[in-house]
């Protein structure tokens, strides 16, 4: 382990312990790690956005357009990027409370863009696609097999449950009628389906979450304690022994 890696490993291990200490209770070590984490990660995203958003989407196109203007004397479409710059600059007006309303242009543009984008994305991927996944199903499935047709009961049962589940859970979301009578009991069934699905998803995720902890613990044991703590001490002891 070279010096820089050794230093890094120690820092990483100490910060890991600082964050874990939060589980016991709030303490100065966690506070330090928390403030540092918020600061460095905010700085990280500033630098990241500069390199990955600002340079390729504003500065580089404008530079290119400027070169074309100088060399060929013509305006190309990249000058449109100025609009992006202007929209971005409106955000900076937030520094001045009196003129903060100017930033509404940037905000309105972003909100409108998001609203339009999500309209399509949700309707296509979530609505129509999911309906298609359901309408294909038949509650009774008969398969051709050796010895003629036979009733495929496992598929039939699972299809039926799936259809009932989707329909009843959708009914639960019905807003404009009191959930009473048939509507009420269907919605009730829908909630039960939702609860089973939530319980299942919870249980399914436990493994991935435990894996994360295993990863951190393996780092502390195999990445830090053994090579960066025990090994150097052993080395030091051995060299003392030699002396």
């Amino acid at each position: 382990m070279d010096g820089l890696t050794l230093l890094g490993t120690w820092i990483a291990a100490l910060l890991t312990l600082c964050i874990l200490s939060f589980l016991y209770k709030d303490n100065p070590f966690y506070k330090f790690a928390e403030y540092l984490f918020v600061g460095v990660s905010a700085g990280f995203w500033i630098a990241y956005n500069y390199h990955n958003l600002l340079l390729p989407n504003l500065i580089d196109p404008l530079k290119g357009a400027f070169v074309v203007l100088l060399l060929e004397g013509r305006l190309d479409f990249r000058w449109l990027t100025i609009i992006a710059g202007l929209l971005g600059v409106t955000m900076l007006f937030r520094f001045f409370p009196k003129a903060a309303w100017v930033s509404r242009y940037g905000i309105a543009f972003s909100v409108g863009l998001g609203a339009g984008l999500m309209f399509i994305v949700y309707l296509q991927a979530n609505c129509i696609y999911q309906i298609w996944g359901t309408v294909k199903l038949s509650p009774v499935v008969i398969t051709e097999g050796p010895g003629g047709q036979h009733f495929d009961w496992p598929t039939s049962v699972s299809n039926t449950l799936l259809i009932v589940g989707v329909v009843s859970a959708l009914v639960y979301f019905y807003f404009s009628k009191e959930h009473k009578g048939v509507l009420g009991s269907t919605a009730r069934l829908g909630i039960w389906f939702l609860m089973v699905s939530f319980g299942a998803a919870f249980g399914y995720t436990v493994m991935a979450r435990i894996s994360l902890l295993i990863g951190r613990m393996e780092f502390l044991i195999d990445g830090w304690l053994r090579p960066a703590v025990i090994a150097p001490i052993q080395g030091a002891l051995a060299s003392l022994g030699l002396l």
């Binding site: 909630i191 436990v206 894996s211 295993i214 393996e218 044991i221």
Partner: protein
């Protein structure tokens, strides 16, 4: 009763402590819990076991660090098995970072055996092209890999004098995290050259390869961390995968035991309340 009350509203830090212990103990002291070995793991083991010593095994490292937590333990276990059986191991990669993963696997396993590079094993490195690379291996290994991972010419290596092309390989093991991977090896090495192909992959992608097992195009399949733990289990040693799987099992059990305790204490307290004719419990419910 006091205990039941304490249990019903236990300090969550006790739960945290128990979880931490449940995860750390298996990592420090492998419990070697028996993992139920599935037939598809067993059959890979049998295949390696029944090859005469000195057979040629090709191991393809088609994964990257992202999939390493699941797939790397398989590589370690499989290499150990091959070296124990004195098979010759030829390593290559269809994934750019695969060759590096092989280097680290060999560094870890290699020191446990008396091995000579070029005679007992070789790391041929990475070659882009997927299917086409495998197809060319059918003609000549040396032509596809004129140089090995370290950039040394492969011409003089003893192992390649014996193994000229894919037809001299007795078993192919593909450790794969996606494409190119198991389907490519099945399509070309198995279908075209009738080689035996085994695979190891992440848990998420395992189900899609079950059809290959049924048709016999794959002799066996290691699926995810569990598959790796199974292989370690048949080899009777507790490696990384077993340790991780032990930790998972214990942690899951601990959580379930906690849930059972919570319910027992809840029911005892409820009965008591009913006896005292208290009103129903109000407060946070788990419903929406």
């Amino acid at each position: 009763m006091k205990f039941v009350r304490w249990l019903a509203d236990i300090d969550r830090r006790i739960i945290f402590l128990v979880i931490a212990v449940a995860v750390v103990i298996p990592l420090l002291l492998p419990l070697g819990m028996r993992v139920k070995v599935t037939p598809q793991t067993e059959s890979i083991y049998e295949e390696v076991e029944n090859l005469p010593p000195g057979s040629n095994v090709l191991v393809a490292f088609d994964y990257d660090p992202a999939a390493a937590p699941e797939v790397h333990p398989m590589a370690l276990a499989f290499l150990r098995h091959c070296f124990t059986k004195k098979h010759k191991v030829i390593i290559m990669a269809l994934w750019p970072q695969g060759a590096q993963m092989a280097v680290s696997a060999l560094a870890e396993v290699g020191k446990e055996y008396d091995l000579e590079y070029g005679r007992d094993y070789v790391n041929l490195g990475y070659k882009p092209g997927g299917d086409i690379v495998i197809k060319s291996l059918g003609a000549s290994l040396g032509e596809v890999f004129p140089k090995d991972m370290a950039g040394e010419p492969t011409a003089g290596l003893a192992i390649l004098a014996k193994v000229r092309n894919l037809k001299d390989i007795d078993l192919v093991m593909d450790l794969s995290a996606g494409d190119p991977g198991i389907p490519a090896w099945v399509r070309v090495a198995n279908a075209l050259y009738q080689r035996k192909v085994a695979g190891g992959c992440t848990a998420v992608s395992a189900p899609q390869f079950f059809p290959y097992l049924q048709t016999g195009q794959l002799v066996g399949l290691l699926g995810g961390l569990k598959g790796a733990a199974e292989y370690e289990s048949v080899l009777a040693y507790a490696g990384k995968a077993s340790r991780r799987m032990d930790a998972q099992s214990i942690a899951h059990l601990v959580i379930i035991v906690f849930i059972i305790f919570a319910n027992i204490s809840y029911f005892i307290l409820r009965r008591q309340r009913e006896e005292k004719r208290e009103g129903p419990r109000t407060g946070p419910a788990a419903s929406p």
